[in-house]
Amino acid sequence: MLGIIRQKVGAGGASLLRTRSAVSALRSYSSAGKEMTVRDALNSALDEEMSADPKVFLMGEEVGEYQGAYKISKGLLEKYGPERVLDTPITEAGFTGIGVGAAYHGLRPVVEFMTFNFSMQAIDHIINSAAKSNYMSAGQISVPIVFRGPNGAAAGVGAQHSHCYASWYASCPGLKVLTPYSSEDARGLLKAAIRDPDPVVFLENELLYGESFPVSAEVLDSSFCLPIGKAKIEREGKDVTITAFSKMVGYALKAAEILAKEGISAEVINLRTIRPLDRSTINASVRKTNRLITVEEGFPQHGVGAEICTSVVEESFGYLDAPVERIAGADVPMPYAANLERLAVPQVEDIVRAAKRACYRSKLFQIQGI
């Protein structure tokens, strides 16, 4: 199925234009409220949590004097000093393990991976030392640690630097996996992650760092915090449910705009947490719309979409009016060439097409049935 989608995308230059016009149209009606970039949201969340709890510290490569490879930790070294904003050598296995050991002893480390691709060098400590300790020690040793950094496809950086790890970490019991989309998510979820007593994998997206989002006064309050394990319905709809996380939420919202013009009302769910997965919100939505499209940047096999599909088949099979559509990254390592790279990750038009297919197909069935 994916292969077919890809082929169609290859010929779809026109749909890109449509997407662009949709974006510019939306600018006109955004609220006049305050805005914040995801970068500032993350930075302020770190700042506030470090200021509230002296046990919180940040460690990683270039987090201090360089101000963060992506400037997420900008200004923190100056404010909190080198003891709490710790520049480490380039030794992921070593410093991740050190973070875990510090968390064993009640500190609250935030370990930054320059990108999550480098967490592969330290995955032993994320899985074996962090995720399993509370269980192996029968609750004696909890590991309040946050592993954070940009995840997923960036642009033009090739296979080793473009990889979504959401489903990898989400398949491991003992970890909580958060995937913020907006500035509100970034602030609320990072603050929740730092305060959480368990290891949290916090998957940011490099391409979202510079995006601005509207934020309410509530979001800017230093006590603001989002619940882990709870999805957010970003846009209500009645014809089809689209689940997405991280950057793909933006794509799903764009697709929903396009679909609205064609008379299809899409409900967009921002998953926010991949583990624990908010199955009840997803199933409630599917029971309402009777159609489901899952969107993710990661590989299709054993992915987040596969898990959501299973959950819906298990809990809401009778409500489905169309086969579940799964949109995922192409089942290949990320190519470098820009045109191939674009083909390898989901695009807005893929979502639009899948939504139409889900809806039209069910209409067709109805006609045949009558």
Partner: protein
């Protein structure tokens, strides 16, 4: 392995191999000089013995003195001053006998089907665990490997709790959820047995980091807790070892890296796996003292340990200690142990650390034979009691299966009042309405 590759492999050894093993050890292996078994360590050791002169030079050249020599000096200078008091001697003896008796019982219980999976026994290495851990305070931490029963016992976890854990019972120190290779005790600061090579070293370094952090950032002036990380010779070829030596020295962390060099990583001989078998020399390379000590002599280990732990506690940074020791049994109870020479085993069996301590104490009139017998009898009873306790203890209830995956089982975060944040009426899901993401700025640096 082909004949040619074997020859190539052996070639550089006389140049950079300076075995830290004792002289008699090399003599012991003279008979094997003619053995040409490919890939065997026998042949390689012959090269060691050829480079004897080279070796002594290297020892001299290093700025770091092997502390076992210091102990010898101290002994000769003050022959009347014993290294331990009677009470200390009895404590050490009891701990070592407990370690030995406990492990022997484990073997019995394993073969009787009472415990399962991988069970790695510590027999022969007791001087290391006892020599270090008995100098630690309760607040000090110990990180171990899969060979972790005895480290836990030395640190104060009861024989009952460890045995029950091995039996997979609810009364075990981890309620049966950890097992042989994963002993944890928050109360005794046993940070766990880590079943992967090198995995425990960064975690231990992190524990040491937290001591420093608590003292310097959280201003807990009295926090002088030390962490001791135990690991084997095989681990010293793993990157995490080097990564942590670097960071521990860089940040002057209160940690002691203790290599229990028992010569064998399962079936891989240390000299066949390591370009320079003298592990202690890697300490100075990272700017920390490196010490080599006879790990079959608890008193020497203890002297070295005192110095290293003291250095860590004073905030003067880490130490790397290589303890030359030997395991009397196979790698695990599933290991047929076919690669090690009977002569090598016999050599170390004759250097049994428990017998050595006994001899020292009796020779110096510290204790009587009877006093030691009393301890042995007491330990037999402790171990018997542990087995009975474990046997009679209940299996974990099936409801336990899903417990302890998260410290916060709901996954919603716990507030300062100890209640779930999501139950707080002021808690929010976030109310901002998003339409589409807007206004992109280039985000890459």
């Amino acid at each position: 392995m082909s004949l040619t590759s074997s020859t190539k492999f052996a070639q550089p050894l006389p140049l950079n191999t300076t075995s830290s093993r004792s002289k008699e050890h090399k003599l012991l292996f003279e008979p094997f000089r003619t053995n040409t078994f490919l890939g065997s360590t026998h042949k390689l050791r012959c090269f060691n013995s050829l480079s004897k002169s080279n070796q002594t030079n290297l020892h001299r050249r290093s700025a770091i003195v092997a502390v076992s020599d210091v102990v010898k000096e101290k002994k000769s200078k003050s022959s009347t001053n014993l290294l331990i008091t009677k009470e200390e001697g009895l404590e050490l003896y009891e701990d070592m006998v407990l370690g030995r008796a406990f492990e022997d019982m484990c073997a019995q219980m394993y073969y009787r089907g009472k415990m399962f999976g991988f069970v790695h026994l510590y027999n022969g290495q007791e001087a290391v665990s006892t020599g270090f851990i008995k100098l630690l305070k309760q607040e000090d931490s110990v990180a171990s490997t899969y060979r972790d029963h005895v480290h836990s016992l030395s640190k104060g976890v009861s024989a009952r709790a460890v045995m029950s854990e091995l039996f997979g019972k609810a009364t075990g120190c981890c309620r049966g959820q950890g097992g042989s290779m994963h002993m944890f005790s928050k109360e005794h600061n046993v940070l766990g047995g880590f079943a992967f090579i090198g995995e425990g070293i960064p975690v231990a370094t992190g524990a040491a980091f937290s001591s420093k952090y608590r003292r310097e950032v959280l201003k807990e002036a009295d926090c002088d807790h030390v962490t001791v990380a135990f690991f084997g010779d095989g681990t010293c070829n793993n990157g995490q070892f080097f990564e942590c030596l670097n960071m521990a020295a860089l940040w002057k962390l209160p940690i002691v890296f203790v290599v229990e060099n028992n010569l064998w990583a399962i079936g891989m001989s240390h000299v066949r796996a390591t370009s320079d078998p003298e592990i202690w020399k890697k300490g100075p390379a990272f700017g920390m003292p490196g010490v080599h000590v006879d790990g079959m002599d608890v008193l020497k280990v203890r002297e070295v340990a005192k110095e290293a732990i003291g250095r860590a506690r004073r905030g003067e940074g880490p130490t790397l200690v290589e303890c030359e020791t030997y395991r009397f049994r196979g790698h695990s109870l599933a290991d047929p142990d076919e690669l090690r020479d009977p002569a090598e085993k016999a050599h170390y069996a004759a250097r049994d650390p428990i017998t050595a301590l006994k001899r020292y104490m009796i020779d110096n009139n510290l204790v009587t034979e009877q006093e030691l017998k009393t301890i042995e009898k007491k330990i037999d009873e402790v171990v018997e009691d542990a087995v009975e306790f474990a046997d009679e203890s209940p299996h974990p209830h099936r409801s336990q299966l899903l417990e302890n995956v998260f410290a916060d089982p709901k996954g919603f975060g716990i507030g300062p009042d100890g209640r779930y944040r999501c139950e707080d009426p002021k808690f929010t899901q976030g109310t901002t309405k998003h339409s589409v993401q807007r206004r992109s700025k280039p985000s890459r640096q």
